[in-house]
Symmetry: C2
Subunit: 231 residues, 2 copies
DNA sequence: ACCTGAACACCGTTCAAGT
DNA sequence: ACCTGAACACCGTTCAAGT
């Protein structure tokens, strides 16, 4: 079940940027961002650091490439349906990818703000923006509507992923949620009245259904501001 | 204008957690997250690393404390007005704080997902959640509506902050936006048709007005789903 | 109780040298 | 063109020792 420690085996294949990125994703999946190290990567690929640096400029670029590879894969499936259904499909695709690769959320949020010229931002903007167009939003508001959608999708999916990130996917996930809810309920009743009341709501939250409720809230706003569209 | 290099001067005051956090914020403001180092911090405070570790458990805790201090300050002002106006005020307060402390965005996003039991998440949830309540949203939907609002506010503000982060606030900001827009316009016309069309929209975007347009989109969704509220 | 500072284990990155 | 591996500068953190 665990990714295990395979090393120095397939020395037959030559090193390539692709194989490096593939190994990077495996390391990230297995141990999170701190698990990706040139030392470990070097051992896994049975080479020296210089070999990796010949194919990749630096660690930042490697993280961008790993992120882009996973996102491209997550957005590859072409859905067909009403614009609303397609938005759901794209959002769930990203949700699932982040759930399967918990390190992805932080990388996406960082790269979105730090290097919007990189490959990842356009990929996500295009997938969502196309459906926003199809909803009948006027062109000058595409960017606003798409931005709201994108930030919610990534933020909420990231929050969800944190829950499964701890350890085993099932037992600890509920435990993590319960611990968070408890922390909120222990807050000062006067200063944090609303948060305390939201805690119970939060305890059984964070699955796909709750996630889509947020999407539909945004879509309701779109429909209200731009009537005549076809959701 | 620059924060400059003051060091080893005020040795009179004793070391305290407060002074350490204060110095940490200064270093983060001056040089971003990579500028906060125990070596530099140690020099600035004219002590050894052991002294800092006596007041603070580790670097993560120091970042949480620095983030919390800045956010608490940003949310301190009590606004009065319609729920919609108050949501605007809270959102702009966070927007301004992130603009003034560009490292804040990444920290908020990380802490939101990695440690929602920490002090920062409840602070933001409470500020926004209280106004969501006032909008007339039924209790079982407070969390959804507040989440959408929160993720958009932090995501969009973070994206905006990246623009001023580069160097000088004025000249380079427009330059950064233009470079991003150009990168998008250079994309493949078939695969990225919508992103290319959004590029021009994006070029003069990212100020307060555009930011608030996203907020109003969410509020329109709230009003549509829960009529009878008073925005 | 609070601080000192040398030491430890580790990191990303470079670069002369090989093939 | 592609790879090796020792070395460099730096990091967060620890801990015996001081006051």
């Amino acid at each position: 079940m665990a990714t295990g420690t395979r090393r120095a085996q397939r020395r037959t294949e030559a090193l390539s940027r692709e194989r490096i990125v593939e190994a990077a994703v495996e390391l990230l999946d297995a141990a999170g961002e701190s698990g990706l190290t040139f030392r470990v990567l070097t051992e896994r690929l049975a080479t020296g650091p210089g070999a990796i640096y010949w194919h990749v400029a630096n660690k930042r670029e490697l993280l961008v490439a790993a992120t882009d590879a996973v996102v491209a894969d997550a957005l590859a499936a072409r859905s067909t349906g009403s614009p609303r259904e397609e938005v759901h499909a794209v959002a769930l695709g990203l949700f699932s990818a982040i759930d399967a690769h918990p390190w992805l959320a932080a990388q996406l949020l960082l790269q979105l703000s730090r290097s919007p010229g990189g490959p990842v931002t356009p990929r996500i903007l295009e997938s969502l923006g196309r459906r926003v167009r199809a909803l009948g939003v006027p062109e000058e508001h595409w960017f606003t509507a798409t931005s709201v959608l994108m930030h919610y999708v990534l933020g909420a999916a990231g929050q969800n992923a944190a829950n499964s990130q701890v350890a085993e996917p099932d037992a600890d996930r509920a435990e993590f949620l319960a611990a968070t809810a408890q922390a909120w309920e222990a807050l000062d009743p006067e200063e944090y009245e609303t948060t305390r009341l939201m805690a119970s709501q939060m305890r059984e939250h964070n699955d796909r259904e709750q996630f889509l409720a947020g999407i539909d809230l945004v879509l309701a706003g779109v429909a209200a501001l731009y009537p005549g569209g076809r959701a």
